[in-house]
Symmetry: C2
Subunit: 218 residues, 2 copies
């Protein structure tokens, strides 16, 4: 019984995702779905990217959290339009929530919207939200076995960001293992090494994202 209902919910999510995509295309906005574990550094990466991109593009942010609004306040303090999406306990964002919250952003004045998904390596990957691009973040302290253990998150993404890369000397992290597994489940997909703390690698990642924004706008 519940499996049938789950399929209905997921089919319905796909339909709404397509509607959201249509709305965003109408405004020539590129929406980027940022996914990763709790504490992988999603907010900090978005903050660093805003600094790099804001000279060229008009950026908005949707901050997903189970509860609270600390992240939206952090982004809003940068002078960027930001709205908080609270899922009230749900472990992922669905397309319906994006459809509902989009009108709260000044869509006429945006080129790109970052959506920070709930910190979770499982469910967010199952739900399309109308995005043009998916970024999965894995931070060095999380360990090198995550691609094997949470395959969908690394398969259904457009790029992988290895964050907290400056911490590599302090952790027993076999980078080759991650590259090999990622290359197997998602052949040819790009990978970036960054440290949001030191700023290393952010410029290169911002360059890739700029290309994607231009593609979505063309």
């Amino acid at each position: 019984m519940e499996i049938k209902v789950l399929h209905q919910v997921m089919d319905w999510n796909e339909d709404v995702s397509e509607e959201v995509k249509g709305t965003l295309a109408g405004h020539r906005i590129c929406m980027i779905n940022v996914m990763g574990s709790p504490g992988a550094g999603k907010t900090t990466m978005i903050t660093s990217l805003i600094e790099q991109l804001r000279g060229t593009f008009r950026v908005g942010v949707i901050e997903g959290d189970i509860a609270g609004q600390v992240d939206a306040e952090r982004i809003a303090s940068l002078g960027v339009p930001a709205v908080q999406l609270n899922t009230d306990g749900a472990c992922h964002i669905e397309a319906m929530s994006i459809q509902h919250i989009l009108p709260e952003l000044p869509l006429e004045d945006l080129d790109v919207i970052f959506v920070e998904n709930i910190g979770n390596l499982v469910c967010p990957a199952e739900f399309r939200i109308g995005e043009s691009l998916r970024i999965t973040i894995l931070s060095i302290p999380e360990g090198d076995d995550k691609v094997e253990k949470y395959p969908l998150m690394f398969t259904d993404t457009d790029c992988l960001v290895l964050n907290k890369y400056d911490m590599l000397p302090y952790f027993d992290f076999d980078e080759e293992r991650v590259l090999a597994n990622y290359g197997t489940v998602n052949p040819g997909a790009p990978l970036f090494r960054i440290s949001s703390r030191t700023g290393d690698g952010i410029e290169e990642l911002a360059g890739f994202i700029s290309e994607q924004i231009r593609k979505a706008q063309s």
Copy 2:
């Protein structure tokens, strides 16, 4: 519609959880539900605790993972009975899965079973699995805002373990913030600081767990 079904699933889970509890009580086994983010260090902590406890208690392990069996193999290599529970995509363990897999462990010969839940700070907390004790692990690299953002995981637990505590100097982690928030959502609940890498704090945590095993057996 799906909400009604969800409630049915959760009510049913509670019933099965009570049945599992009865089975374990019949064997005088203490089952410990270990929860935390991907990469928080659940397997390594369990490994360290096995070394501390195995002189006194007979230990078994149920390793929960979406896919694969690397963790169960790691535990089995210690000579401890271990079974792998694959959830095939689900982001948490339910009581029914435990009920199903328990007969695969030698229950007559065990005092304690560690269940390593799926790496996830959200859904595992919503599902009782027949456990006597819940441990939530938060690792220093994940950041100090997790209690605010994922409150249920820190409310519905019997103790909090701060893992990778030796990494404190390298991260911008405000321990006071965590203690204050944890004290608010779960007043009086114990907290342990450990480093599975250096071994610091493991003995104290093992002492606490030994008490809980004895309580469950009395």
